[in-house]
């Protein structure tokens, strides 16, 4: 029992117990109000969410390590915070569902025959090695508890590109001349750079020896190509948050652009016209998770573990599923979804009824089928992962200059 309960003077009315609070710093990928309310309901303490954009979140997690207890982000930018010494290892023996966590996170692919993908596959950052570095050799301590994840592609206008056909679309469409003047890119460097790199390699403009770890020369070539295209008026601009991307589609200002899964449910009358692609080269994947702040000890550390364990209990995974994201222990989520929801989101079935998103609005219409199909089909086609590559400092600075020259495409 916390100190304050014992020292409270005896009163006629029941003692007022100061609720303990756990502070979570993260991004709007997982820090949904619906998730927070569920957590407070299930856990014996309050949960505060500090919702930041990707870059601010990493920066503050590293440089301001005392003002949060849990860090919720992605594996691909974990290096930044981990090697700054802001986090502590998680003991897997304290994670009740550890054995039910899928092999995509634990060993790199859903089966031993699937390719791990270029770049920062979560398994390469998962296990804490004896020398304090992160690697894929299994160890009893991990850096981040794997939770929500997904595979991304780009969105395209069917009126311009037509149907995808049996082979699927190609990342080349993202820099397609037919869409000149109607292309937008996401500003986040660990994501946007790879959207265009996949496109440039798919259309034959450039080749990368290892697209997940580009050299300085390759980065220079890529930025040179983008500058040329910019001068030719290819881009309408960049977007920072998904709602900006959705507004660009609703206002009919883009024919193809970087786009994330939850946005496809928010396109209004453009739904069915602006579609999620199924690129033949494969997806760009990401994997989220939660980490423990370095400063946690004793009772506060126990709360941290309670919260991590709670993420794998099912209800939060169901919220994630309703915006299209997968959980690392899918079977644990199943009981909290309707048969129709499970069928559409995880099994790739045709929706048998309208489906609601986390906030209760309808995001999927009866008769739709998820592009790319079932979970296993989609995650077995990962071309690469969001990545903070070795030359990130160099690449991100060049990217930032390029994005600044585009301007934000605020509608």
């Amino acid at each position: 029992m916390p100190e304050e309960v014992r020292t409270e003077p005896k009163l006629a009315s029941p003692p007022r117990v100061t609720r303990r609070t756990l502070r979570v710093r993260g991004t709007d990928v997982t820090l949904l109000e619906e998730v927070r309310l569920l957590a407070i309901e299930d856990l014996g303490f309050d949960v505060e969410f500090e919702n930041l954009d990707f870059l601010t979140c990493q920066h503050r997690a590293a440089m301001d390590p005392l003002n949060y207890d849990i860090y919720e982000q992605c594996f691909h930018n974990l290096d930044i915070v981990w090697y700054w010494g802001a986090l502590q290892p998680i003991e897997t023996e304290r994670i009740k569902q550890w054995d039910n966590i899928g092999s995509l996170a634990k060993s790199g692919g859903i089966s031993k025959y699937t390719w791990q993908g270029h770049g920062d596959a979560p398994v390469r950052k998962l296990y804490v090695q004896p020398d304090g570095t992160l690697g894929q050799q299994p160890m009893p301590q991990i850096s981040m508890l794997p939770t929500a994840h997904n595979v991304d592609s780009f969105g395209y206008d069917r009126r311009l590109f037509g149907e995808e056909g049996p082979e699927g679309s190609s990342w080349a469409w993202l820099l397609d001349r037919r869409a000149r003047g109607r292309i937008a890119l996401v500003d986040e460097p660990a994501i946007g750079i790879f959207d265009v790199a996949l496109a440039a390699e798919a259309n034959g403009d450039l080749t990368f020896e290892d697209i997940g770890n580009m050299t300085v020369d390759e980065i220079d070539s890529l930025m040179g190509l983008l500058e040329t295209l910019r001068q030719q008026g290819f881009f309408v601009g960049s977007w920072v948050s998904p709602d900006q991307a959705e507004a660009l589609v609703r206002d009919d200002r883009v024919s193809v652009q970087s786009m994330w899964t939850p946005s496809y449910g928010n396109l209004g009358k453009m739904s069915g016209i602006f579609c999620e692609s199924f690129p033949r080269e494969g997806y760009r994947a990401w994997h989220g998770g939660a980490s423990l702040a370095r400063h946690l000890t004793g009772a506060k550390l126990d709360m941290g573990y309670e919260y991590l364990n709670w993420w794998l209990t099912g209800p939060p995974g169901a919220v994630m599923a309703r915006q299209g994201h997968y959980m690392t222990n899918p079977e644990g989520v199943r009981a909290y979804l309707s048969a129709e929801e499970w069928g559409y989101w995880y099994d790739g079935d045709i929706a048998r009824c309208d489906l609601k998103g986390p906030d209760g609005r309808i995001v999927v219409r009866k008769g739709q089928r998820r592009p790319g199909g079932a979970y296993r089909e989609r995650v077995s086609r990962i071309a690469m992962w969001n990545t903070v590559m070795d030359e990130y400092n160099y690449a991100a600075r060049a990217w930032k200059r390029f994005i600044a020259s585009l301007g934000t495409a605020t509608p």
Binding site: W84, G132, Y392
Partner: protein
């Protein structure tokens, strides 16, 4: 390249070449008997005492050798006294003698001392900016900034060039950076080739008492950070290798890396306790004269350090160029 020399220093000062001044001081101390016959003279300690670089000391030692005041011997450096005298080499610090720097020479050296201080400042600034990208160094701005002549500014930049912190661009501009992952990887690759080799060469020259003292510091928790122990490794182990050229290349190769570490520490990078532990083990092995194990361990330590440095460089991407970058450095 021709440039107008702007004489800022008052006339009459600093006109004499530095090696002349140093020669005069050494000559004075030898002929007056302050330095005994057989004393080993090495340029490093003399340079330190006179607050100059090593090059002019080398020149003046060659001069005194030609004059017959000192002579070469089988070891490193020179012996005081004319050749032929069968004196045993005396290896003692100059501090132990009543070494005298006459007032006039002192003034001349003090001016040079300013140069050294100026150099250290510029070296630190030029190295630190490189994590933020590529910079052009404007010579006139630098002279203005330091309040020195363009000649001095150019000397400073030439020295940085020699040490690999600057280069000349296609249009003869001085360029610094960017410090990329490629640069970092290359420098660590060089380290893992040269430093274990130097450690092996140095084996018989390492002072066990020093190593024990360092170990005691680590055990008491007095070692501030990994940078301190890295410095100790350089000074007391690698630097003892009887190959001055190798030691110099190692020192120059480390410059950019240690200034990156310093820049990151200034940004708030906490002490790396794993690295402290690794240094403890390394100094244990060196203290035990386990040469093979120590060199292998040093290699592994450098591999891990390289990996961590690459990861730490990534956070710099999130930090805007600091306003404290001095005005003579202009972003390319």
């Amino acid at each position: 390249m021709t440039q107008i020399i702007m004489p800022r220093t008052p006339a009459g000062q600093g006109q004499e070449p530095l090696y002349e001044t140093i020669s005069r001081v050494l000559r004075h101390n030898i002929t007056s008997g302050r330095l005994p016959a057989g004393l080993v003279l090495i340029e490093g300690p003399i340079a330190k005492l006179m607050q100059t670089s090593r090059a002019p000391v080398q020149a003046s030692l060659r001069m005194l050798n030609a004059e017959g005041l000192i002579h070469r011997f089988r070891g490193r450096g020179y012996l005081v006294g004319a050749a032929g005298a069968t004196s045993q080499p005396v290896r003692k610090s100059l501090d132990e003698y009543d070494f005298d720097i006459p007032e006039a020479s002192r003034t001349a050296l003090a001016i040079r001392g300013t140069w050294i201080r100026v150099y250290d400042q510029v070296e630190a600034e030029v190295a630190a900016c490189q994590i933020f990208g590529e910079f052009r160094v404007i010579e006139t701005e630098l002279a203005e900034y330091l309040g020195v002549s363009r000649t001095v500014a150019r000397d400073v930049l030439s020295r940085l060039n020699e040490r690999g912190l600057l280069r000349k661009g296609a249009s003869s501009h001085w360029l610094a950076g960017p410090l990329t992952a490629r640069t970092l990887r290359e420098k660590f690759e060089l380290r893992s080739i040269m430093e274990p080799a130097a450690l092996r060469l140095a084996t018989d020259y390492i002072d066990p008492v020093q190593i024990a003292a360092i170990r005691a510091r680590i055990d008491r928790g007095d070692a501030r950070d990994a940078a301190e122990l890295e410095g100790a490794l350089m000074r007391h182990c690698l630097g003892r290798a009887p190959n001055g050229a190798l030691v110099e290349i190692i020192a120059n190769n480390r410059l950019l890396l240690s200034s990156m570490d310093k820049a990151l520490i200034d940004l708030g990078l906490p002490v790396d306790v794993v690295a402290l532990d690794q240094y403890r083990t390394l100094f244990d092995l060196i203290g035990l004269r386990q040469v093979d194990a120590a060199t292998e361990y040093l290699k592994e330590h450098l591999r891990i350090l390289s990996f961590k440095s690459l990861a730490r460089l990534k956070i710099v991407a999130l930090i805007p160029e600091i306003e404290t970058i001095p005005c003579y450095l202009v972003k390319v």
